[in-house]
């Protein structure tokens, strides 16, 4: 497990900005409710941010917007100094390959083996050669195996991912993300469809990897206790607006739970 305190201390000495979002607005269709309205967020290098809020608060939208899987309506985003908004398709691909995305429903390609799915992670750097392990370079294949080994699934390399359990599939997804050699990890409720034990191991793994490689993490979570345990900082969203934003030591569980409690009434 990672000790958040030491990492926060590390951040203060070197406060380069990893992600900067200013005045971000998203509207899904004309004349419908806004998904995000005027979000500002600045995340320094190496920080782990937990994003909490009810369903529909805009967590997923914000994360997807950061790499333009959803197009923002207004506002600017930069990741590692590169402008995401207004980037050309080629530029956007270069930005995306630096950003690892972990999804709630894993989004692996079923019917393919775990190894094959992890090799896909190399497509950003090596291009379409990594679409199939047959054509991938020997180096990429070796690296994919190392990534699988890192998540403890080397023994399952030849297994089809749809025969693995949910926790194992999410670990394959993390291995695929590792294969990208990301500088930023965005995780959209990575443990929401897992049992508590698998959820703990997936979060441990993701945060350990982030700490090893000094990667910036933004993770959307529903579980307040997980947010307090793993994050350096907690950002609460409600109806597309940042409601609060403070360091994890200034928060307590009751305060965070109130974000959910109030929304129900």
């Amino acid at each position: 497990m990672v000790a958040p305190v030491t990492r926060t201390a590390g951040v203060t000495t070197r406060a380069d900005t990893a992600i900067e979002v200013t005045d971000l607005c998203v509207r899904y269709r004309r004349n419908t409710a806004v998904a995000l309205s005027g979000v500002d967020l600045r995340v320094p290098d190496g920080q782990t941010v937990a994003l909490i809020g009810t369903n529909g608060a805009g967590k997923s939208t914000l994360l997807r917007c950061l790499v333009r899987l959803i197009e923002p309506t207004e506002g600017t985003i930069s990741i590692g100094g590169a402008q995401v908004t207004g980037a050309s398709r080629r530029m956007l691909r270069e930005i995306r390959q630096e950003v690892g995305f972990v999804f709630q429903r894993f989004h692996l390609i079923p019917r393919l083996t775990a190894f094959h799915n992890v090799v896909h992670g190399g497509m950003g750097r090596h291009g379409s050669r990594c679409a199939w392990p047959v054509t991938a370079s020997a180096g990429a294949r070796r690296q994919a195996m190392e990534c699988l080994d890192r998540v403890g699934l080397a023994a399952y390399a030849e297994r089809r991912v749809d025969t693995l359990s949910g926790g194992q599939q999410q670990r394959v997804a993390i291995a695929r993300m590792l294969m990208q050699e990301p500088r930023v990890i965005l995780a959209d409720e990575p443990v929401a469809s897992l049992d508590p034990a698998s959820a703990g191991s997936v979060m441990d793994l993701m945060c350990a990897i982030a700490a090893e490689r000094d990667v910036t993490v933004i993770v959307a979570l529903h579980q307040v206790d997980l947010a307090l345990r793993y994050a350096d900082r907690v950002v609460g969203l409600r109806d597309g607006v940042v409601e609060f934003d403070r360091g994890v030591r200034d928060c307590d569980a009751a305060q965070l739970n109130s974000v959910y409690a109030e929304a129900v009434t």
């Binding site: 691909r93 930005i95 079923p110 393919l112 896909h120 992670g121 497509m123 679409a131």
Partner: protein, 273 residues
């Protein structure tokens, strides 16, 4: 009628046993009836007397056809082999051409809306013109012979597979594509690494169906001179050599059944695993 309405406001009325048909169903019945009557005057009929005659003549045909004449079995089997090969080559080319066509014709993978429109139009035209008509067209283009048949089958398969491949691609769970796009994968990588493997089972089943229907249509294509066994059948029939025709029909039956069994088996394996 008006009495019933006023009563309905006071107490619950038993629903009428028969409702008056809507205007639309009335119009449909009238049109269908009119067509049938007009068709009868044009000879599109089933008359009991000719039916009785026909059964008698069919009996004659069967009498002539049994036992089947196997004296020309060599050339017949040769023509049959060519027919099978036509079906095979036409289907393979058709399936290969369908893949890019389907990628363009699927909403979620098309690079541009104009390409989407064009490829949809190509698919529609290939599908709506019957294979026999394509056979006639290609006989004009490349002359009599199996090549015309192969081309006709190719176009037919493109219409069939293009449409069903495109639908399979549109049915992919969007998250899987999103997952690969988020990796920074190039478009070709997303297609080859994600879309193709995810759709493979449905592509294989569709291709097997296409192979079955090409086996049937390659037999018929011979009738318009597009190669294969159809021409043999037409010749035997016009020369009233029904016993030879029977041999041809039985061997066609055998081939089509084999095609169907093989394709069913492949489909079962692909879907079962």
């Amino acid at each position: 009628m008006s009495g019933a309405i006023s009563e309905a406001s006071t107490r619950a009325e038993l629903p009428a046993r028969v409702h008056r048909p809507s205007l639309l169903s009335l119009v449909i019945v009238l049109i269908v009836g009119g067509l049938l009557v007009h068709g009868w005057t044009q000879g599109a009929t089933v008359r009991p007397d000719s039916l009785a005659d026909g059964v008698f003549r069919l009996g004659e045909f069967v009498e002539d056809a049994v036992p089947p004449d196997v004296s020309r079995i060599g050339p017949i089997l040769k023509a049959l082999l060519v027919t099978v090969e036509m079906a095979l080559l036409g289907t393979i080319i058709g399936v290969i051409l369908s893949l890019p066509l389907a990628v363009f014709a699927a909403r979620n993978t098309t690079p541009h809306w104009s390409l989407y429109g064009v490829s949809r139009a190509v698919i529609t035209v290939s599908r709506t013109i019957p294979d026999l008509v394509w056979g006639l067209i290609f006989v004009i283009a490349v002359g009599l012979g199996p090549e015309a048949g192969v081309l006709a089958i190719t176009v037919d398969v493109m219409g069939f597979c293009g449409r069903f491949f495109a639908e399979a691609i549109e049915d992919i769970e969007p998250g899987r594509i999103e997952g690969l796009r988020a990796l920074g994968a190039p478009r070709a990588g997303v297609l080859v690494g994600g879309v193709l493997p995810a759709c493979l089972p449905s592509f294989v089943t569709t291709s097997m169906f296409a192979l079955e229907s090409s086996a049937r249509s390659s037999v018929v294509l011979g009738l318009v001179g597009a190669g294969g066994i159809g021409i043999e059948l037409a010749t035997s029939m016009t020369l009233l050599r029904y016993d030879e025709a029977a041999t041809i029909i039985l061997s066609i039956l055998g081939v089509v059944v084999v095609f169907e069994r093989v394709s069913a088996e492949i489909r079962r394996r692909v879907l079962g695993v």
